[in-house]
């Protein structure tokens, strides 16, 4: 649960370095030329998925990306301070979800907070991690987009190198899931599955709808307003918890005067934030 900022930072630095290399290597390699590095060797082994950071993968010939998301992004709250929420409106809930939603509404009426797992240091997970009130740093290279939230340094990787999703019987379920992206015209379409189905919620306080293992999120991402804004159209399904598609549109503003920092939910954090251990907390 604790962040590993050093590893994340290394990944970003490495990614940025590889990105430059990739830009320099846009021309196809001359026939018969030697591999760029020894790390290209595994590419010849069948069944081996090259790392998104492997130079041989980054340098593969592929269409140029329509846009580059590299930057820091912060949820746009022009229209509402509640823009971080993905509802209302909410889809028709299943009984399994309705019981939690009703309990959270009851708690809210009583001035209490129902099962605030994020407040207890569980990861926010997708989709809420995208709209926390801390910027999200993104670094894009030809094979992937590395996202690190300023909130608990939560790591999300969107693979762009054409790999398929991991088979569900071996996938390691996580709160941000496994994201595979591809380009469609002026949009990046990201498909995410493989979520943890416990301590994972679609809202935080007052509208507690669980996110289950069947959660499937498709994001249609566009860069708009001359690159100043990111627009993401969310289409989310989870037949265990709601019927049909749950849709939501979010906008994010580019932040050029702030970097994310090391942020961890340390053991002594909540000891000094009495509200997290208050009688207002309903577990």
């Amino acid at each position: 649960m604790r962040s590993s900022l050093s590893r994340i930072a290394l990944a970003i630095v490495t990614a940025a370095g590889v990105s430059v290399s990739a830009c320099d290597a846009t021309a196809p390699a001359a026939p018969g030329s030697a591999p760029a590095t020894e790390s290209a060797a595994p590419a010849t082994q069948p069944g081996v998925q090259l790392s998104a950071l492997a130079p041989a993968n980054v340098a593969k010939s592929r269409p140029a990306a329509p846009f580059d998301l590299t930057g820091n992004w912060f949820i746009d709250t022009t229209e509402s301070a509640d823009a971080w929420r993905f509802g209302p409106p909410y889809p028709k809930l299943t009984p399994a979800a309705q019981v939690h939603f009703d309990a959270s509404q009851k708690a809210a009426r009583e001035g209490k907070v129902y099962r605030d797992d994020i407040g207890q240091c569980w990861p926010a997970g997708l989709p809420l991690i995208m709209t926390r009130y801390w910027p999200m740093a993104m670094v894009q290279i030809p094979t992937a987009i590395y996202m690190v939230s300023g909130f608990m340094n939560s790591l999300r990787i969107v693979y762009l190198d054409g790999r398929p999703h991991t088979e569900l019987d071996i996938i390691v379920r996580t709160f941000n899931g496994e994201s595979i992206g591809h380009w469609e015209g002026d949009a990046l379409v990201v498909d995410t599955i493989g979520f943890r189905g416990d301590h994972h919620w679609m809202d935080q306080g007052g509208a507690s709808i669980p996110a289950g293992e069947q959660l499937h999120i498709v994001e249609r991402i566009r860069l708009i307003n001359g690159g100043k804004q990111l627009e993401i159209e969310y289409t989310m399904t989870d037949p265990e918890h709601w019927e049909g598609e749950w849709k939501s549109m979010k906008r994010f503003n580019r932040v050029d005067d702030e970097d994310i920092q090391e942020v961890s939910c340390l053991p002594d954090l909540n000891e000094h934030l009495q509200s997290t251990t208050s009688k207002a907390q309903v577990r």
Partner: protein, 132 residues
């Protein structure tokens, strides 16, 4: 806590407060202000939240330890704070929105130093790309 609770003011701010904490903000009563006059026990300058613990004497001669939650240093710096703006032993007045349960905890609104200087939070960046 007669002296502790110097005033509860209806602010009509409910629903206007963004999610600045790592936890749900619903535990706090944003319609009330509590003014605390006391002595700083600890001031922790760290992510994701800065916090202040203040020993506040009540009208029965007891000292009540209040926990006050603030936003991250990134945004406090932009409001003029430094890591040494306050230190243990400082006499301060702190205005908070309290938790709804009556427990001695709240989310920060304003701090008044012994010399009368005031420190507030500025909100995390809100609004559109041109907002600063």
């Amino acid at each position: 806590m007669g002296k502790v609770l110097l005033g509860c003011v209806v602010l009509m701010l409910a629903g206007m407060v963004p999610l600045l904490a790592h936890h749900s903000p619903a535990a706090f009563d944003r319609t009330k202000e509590v003014t605390l006059k006391g002595t700083v026990k600890e001031f922790r300058w760290q992510n994701p939240h800065t916090w202040i613990e203040v020993n506040v004497p009540d009208d029965k001669g007891n000292v009540v330890l209040w926990g006050v939650e603030l936003t991250s240093p990134t945004y406090l710096i932009r409001a003029g704070w430094k890591s040494n703006s306050i230190k243990p032993g400082d006499k301060v007045t702190v205005i908070v929105n309290p938790v709804r349960t009556g427990e001695p905890a709240g989310i920060f609104q304003k701090l008044i130093l012994a010399d009368g200087r005031e420190l507030t939070e500025r909100p995390a960046r809100l609004g559109n790309a041109n907002a600063k």
